[in-house]
């Protein structure tokens, strides 16, 4: 290549450079403008979508029981109170997938009777009417006395359910044994059959009968209680439905009660709220069930009263007087 040629070439290249620069600039500008336009358009579009997606005037979205999101006019919204039919049918069915279980640690019970009180206030019972009672137990003169909270054992082979003539007391899929006040004829065959004396009968008008008359009967709470029918511990089925621990379990100040689901192999202490493995707890503490020889298969386990946190003191004898009508 000649030098002249080279010069020419160089000049051309410079020109090219200028042209090239301005082209680049142009492209850059156009691209920028395009990007701005697209972004703006997108922004406008999404804003439009957002505007479209906003609640329509006077409408509200709700999740139905079968998990569908639906929209209904606000004025059609009603507060939902389960009616008797629904309470009864869900109360009979139970909570699917659960196998409720209770563990009672006798080494921690000092007869505070907070479980009893919480239970009685929740179920509208008199001070001497029990779903759960704390008993002084002593197997023989040479063995120590201890306190034993005794709820219904919610047996897997319940003698009470077998003998009921009208299907008023029944076993649910989640392991709870319930009593239907609307069905019970008051024959008391279940009381005769229960080896744990877990059942009570309304010999007179229940304590809050008058105040409760307007309330819809909830079989999972057994309120309103009814004269002439049986009542018993329900493992607080109403609280379990709301994902809470039973009344007695939460009320205990001493960490006596564990409650949980056998399927999950987990139980939660009502006082410390600590969750532990059910199988480990039963294993390491040498758990037992009441009267295994009867074959009732209770869902309540007891941990023996060893290494007790409190000395056993026979408290003041409580006197109970029957309410006279």
């Amino acid at each position: 290549m000649s030098k002249e040629n080279h010069e020419e070439e160089k000049g051309k290249a410079d020109l090219d450079k200028v042209i090239d620069n301005s082209r680049r600039d142009f492209i850059r500008k156009v691209t920028l403008a395009g990007a701005v336009t697209v972004t703006g358009g997108a922004a406008i579009y999404s804003g439009h979508r957002f505007e479209k997606a906003k609640h329509r005037e006077g409408m509200v979205r709700v999740l139905t029981e079968d998990n569908r999101l639906v929209e209904i006019p606000v004025e059609q919204m009603r507060d939902f109170k389960p009616d008797l039919k629904m309470l009864q049918s869900r109360g009979r069915e139970g909570i699917s997938g659960r196998r409720w279980v209770m563990v009672i640690d006798l080494s921690k019970c000092r007869n505070a009777r907070k479980c009893v009180e919480a239970c009685q206030s929740a179920h509208h019972l008199r001070p001497y009417e029990y779903h759960i009672n704390t008993l002084v137990m002593q197997e023989s003169v040479n063995t120590p006395a201890y306190y034993m909270p005794k709820p219904c054992q919610h047996c897997d082979n319940p003698p009470c359910v077998s003998v009921c003539p009208v299907d008023a007391t029944y076993k649910r899929q989640d392991g709870i044994v319930l009593i239907d006040n609307e069905r019970c004829i008051g024959c008391r065959f279940c009381m005769a059959a229960c080896p744990y004396s877990a059942r009570m009968f309304h010999w007179q008008e229940p304590q809050q009968a008058e105040a409760d008359t307007d309330q819809e009967y909830n079989v999972e709470l057994n309120v309103p209680q009814k004269k002439g029918t049986i009542s018993k511990c329900l493992f607080s089925a109403d609280r379990l439905r709301e994902g809470m621990l039973p009344y007695c379990v939460s009320a205990c100040p001493n960490g006596v009660f564990y409650f949980g689901d056998e399927n999950e192999d987990a139980v939660t202490n009502g006082t410390t709220k600590e969750t532990v493995r059910l199988s480990e707890l039963l294993e390491k503490s040498g758990a037992y069930r009441l009267m295994p020889e009867l074959g009732t298969k209770p869902r309540v386990y007891y941990l023996p009263p060893k290494n007790r946190l409190f000395e056993f003191e026979e408290g003041e004898k409580r006197e109970y007087k029957e309410d006279k009508a």
Binding site: P159, V163, D167, I185, G186, Y196, F201, W203, Q204, I230
Partner: protein, 454 residues
Amino acid sequence: MDDTRFNTPGEQRKIDSIAADILRNVRINRSFILWMGFLATLLALCLFAYVIQLRQGLGVTGLRDYTSWGMYIANFVFFVATSLVGMLISSVLGLIGYQWVKPIARIAEIIAIAFAAVAGLVIISDMGRPDRLPYVFMYGRVQSPILWDVTVVTTYFVLSLLLWFFPLIPDLAIAKSRLEGRPAFLVKAYEILSFRWEHHEMQYRIMKQAIRILLILIIPTAFAIHTVTSWLFAVTPRTGWDSTIFGPYFISGAFVSGTAAVIIAMYFFRRSYRLEKYLTDETFEKIGRVLVLVSIVYFYFNLNEFLVPGYKLKTGDAIHLRELFTGHYAPLFWGIQLLGLIIPVTLLLFKRIRRPLPMLVISLLVLIGAWFKRFIIVVPPQAHPNLPIQNVPVEWVIYKPTLIETAVTVASIVLVLIIITILSKLFPVIPIWEMAEEEPGKDINHENSKNPGL
């Protein structure tokens, strides 16, 4: 008309005389009105107690959470037990062929009807919600012995009613033309209920066949009613009830109280209806032997029921038996066993005692003992549950029946007496045609007295 009965003058005369004897009592006389008036007043008074119970709830009884079955259930068991005698006399002894039971068969059926019918009512008085009785039929679960009980007691009542009524039809036909001076409604009732019976041989053949079928059917039914009643207790895991011999124990006890009831009824019918010719000393002697036999069987079951657990003394049994033998219920327990079973039956072994009046006294003792025996079976096993009774009012610990539940129980007994009185006073209490069926000149009681058996 060869195939019609009671045609010949001889037969006519015989039936006339028997009918005259027996129909003499079929009338509404002053003593009947007085007695029924007394019973009705007593019933009304006692039913007032039931009204109180209906209003205030079962709390008016002495029952509480621990002893939740008491006098009502004991009374129910007693009634079912006593009703069983219909089957014993008519079926067991009748089918074997003992002729001497013929004049007392109807009395036994009347006892069966009255006690079975009222047993059904008594159980309602024990219900906390009697208004829900229809639930038993609407929602009944076959797994529950209560359903079995309802079924068999009703069946037994119906069978007993038929067994009383079928043999009564020819008697009503015989009697309807002989009821001068009786109220018109009674004559009309006889007219309707005799179903135009013509004493045709064919009719008798069909009736006897029907009775025979009923007599056989009622045997398993009767065994069922009291076995099932015993299972109300025996199916529970409760010490004192948790016994495998409860079925036969109850059945054998039932024969004792039922036989005693029949003897008492026989005594009063014989006296007030002047039936000495039909309910003879001989009949008493024989039924006395039946009472001895069934009591010995019952004693045997008592021995098993108390001696075997008493030998082992398992924890629960030991507490239960101590209560019965030396504890709170000891006076009642030994009173029943001695005065209601052992002493009367030992006395009855002597022929001199097997006469109407001594037998009445003995039967009354046995019957009262039988009632309290049911109380002892029902109540004490509940007083000592597996877990201690604590933190309850003192009156919950030991069951004491109240005046109200006693009155309701008395009402049920009064009702039984009313049914027995009506059935025995308005209808022939001795089967006329069966008495006439006997060959002339043959004393039916005498015929069998050579038989050293019963």
